[in-house]
Symmetry: C2
Subunit: 337 residues, 2 copies
């Protein structure tokens, strides 16, 4: 038996398909829980929640719970409810994020706050968040509750951290990593980790899956932040340059600023402070980011975390589940090419 | 031994003092938990949370947990953490409410959303909400988690229900009671009920305390809604007429509309739809509400629920705790006089 060394950069383009296939039967059951538990006597709740939940999201986080459970050979059904809880937490944060960022487009569709207003988005987010805890309580594992309540608090801290970092040209890569580690990677990590809890595996397996999810989450966010400077609304489902116009300090900007000439740094200071938000300014930003290889190196960072994610699950048995989880990472870091 | 029949309407003005005294030593410990657990490495979080938490609130809900525990003779310490969790849920909903209502004044101080903006208020609310679940998980009672996660979902549903009821002149008393039962009374009920869980008392005691809290919560909200038409910012810590200007359908308006002449009903239709929001319109609203005895009867309804709250705990031993809980109800319904 020869060792299988999974490495980024194979021949055929990586795809999410193997993971989608791997979890398809389970995901149908998760979707049934989601649809059932977003109901309410107040019609606005399923209407608004359904807009986002049915709105073409990849269900990345519940998929990770399901795939991790498959990796561990778990044959029970507890993870369906918990995967739905994870998706509810994610949906709640999306609803609140769109209010916080005053976004008008997500996944290529108008955001809930634009259609129903900020108040409804805030309150339905609260509802979904509460509902996610009800689902966890029904499952009854205090360990799962601890992991997901902690992740939720960390996410909220990360979001506040990001908010206070807005328009701060001096942010730096370390604090940026802190922010995306909290606002994105914490839920990826928790989504994977809880599979080991329901499968009653030792803590080492919990930690390995946590590391897989956390590194994948960081890679995922790095690529997302890179895409904002290389793509357009047609391919990414959000407005290109959103981050730029909001003065969000993402890694492409941090690198371009750190590597820029004096005059380029003046440009970035003005841009991040909000004094350069025209389309021509965004074009200039994209040009500078290219010139300083800031997107390329953001993606190189993403590959680093992607490789760590892949190696984190190296100790689990080879097979379809592991292959799918590896390819999901490869897909995540290849999205921007 | 003669029976003690507690009845509303005694000679000396009722006060919250006995309850404040009853729970004072416990409340110091709860405050220590609150201060400790609202900390974060992100300075904006304790700053914003502290503004509201230190902002002169009565800590009514954690006080009810502590008083209920005293009523049951509970001598442990678990309820300190849980009372803090209850206050965090309440604080989170206040932060989100002020965003939803675009309020600028609460408890006589500028609201957090005015000082720090809506995004920060939404996210710090999310943080406190998550933190409250972390506190519950540390306590480790799935029963408490169930009660409070359910209450949280019901609160959010009630808030959405209220939002969709805004400017709906045809709301009616029944749906109004549904709304305040969810958005206010559910947490009062849960705050009391969890004391019976930590004291490991039979379900009948849980239900009795739940009924006490629920009826007190309804009475409390009825009086709050009455006060908006009899008081001013100086005495109530919020802007008089806020509800009126926002087109909120509270019981005083529902009764004044139901009892009004044809021309008065036209006035209410215009007012609730937002076409009459001037100071002179508010003065006219107050006049009509007086003429139809709508405030008086809102307060009569409050006394009805207050009496039910008092009778709900009739079966518990007489003593200082019960007396304080009875007088707290009397105080709640007497606030508007």
């Amino acid at each position: 038996m020869s060792a299988t060394i999974h490495r980024l950069g194979s021949e055929r383009p990586p795809s999410l398909e193997p993971m989608l296939e791997l979890v398809a039967p389970d995901m149908n059951l998760v979707n049934a829980v989601i649809l059932d538990r977003m109901q309410s006597d107040i019609p606005l709740i399923p209407e608004l929640a359904g807009h986002l939940i049915a709105g073409g999201g990849k269900r990345m986080r519940p998929m990770l719970t399901l795939a991790s459970a498959r990796l561990l050979g778990y044959s029970g059904a507890r993870h369906h409810k918990l995967a739905a809880a994870v998706e509810f937490i994610h949906t709640a944060t999306l609803l609140h994020d769109d209010v916080v960022d005053s976004s008008d487009l997500r996944r290529g569709r108008r955001t809930a706050n634009i259609i129903w207003g900020n108040p409804a988005s805030v309150l339905v987010g609260d509802f979904l968040f509460s509902r996610s805890f009800e689902l966890m309580v029904e499952d009854g594992s205090l360990k799962v509750l601890k992991i997901l309540s902690n992740a939720s608090a960390v996410i909220a801290e990360g979001e506040v951290n990001q908010l206070t970092a807005t328009r701060r040209i001096d942010l730096g890569e370390e604090r940026y990593l802190e922010i995306i580690g909290a606002k994105t990677a914490a839920l990826f990590a928790a989504a994977c980790r809880i599979a080991a809890v329901v499968a009653e595996r030792p803590e080492a397996d919990e930690l390995a899956l946590d590391a897989y999810g956390r590194n994948l989450g960081i890679a995922f966010q790095l690529v997302d932040d890179a895409i904002d400077y290389v793509s357009d609304a047609g391919t990414m489902g959000k407005d290109a340059g959103d981050d730029f116009r909001e003065g969000k300090m993402t890694l492409p900007v941090i690198l371009a600023y750190a590597r820029g000439s004096d005059s380029e740094r003046v440009f970035w200071q003005e841009a991040v402070s909000g004094r350069r938000a025209a389309d021509t300014d965004f074009a200039e930003a994209v040009r500078l980011i290219r010139a300083t290889r800031a997107v390329d190196d953001t993606l190189a960072r993403a590959r680093h975390y992607g490789q760590r994610a892949i190696d984190a699950i190296g100790g689990f048995p080879n097979g379809a589940a592991k292959d799918a989880m590896v390819e999901a990472v490869e897909f995540a870091v290849a999205r921007a090419y």
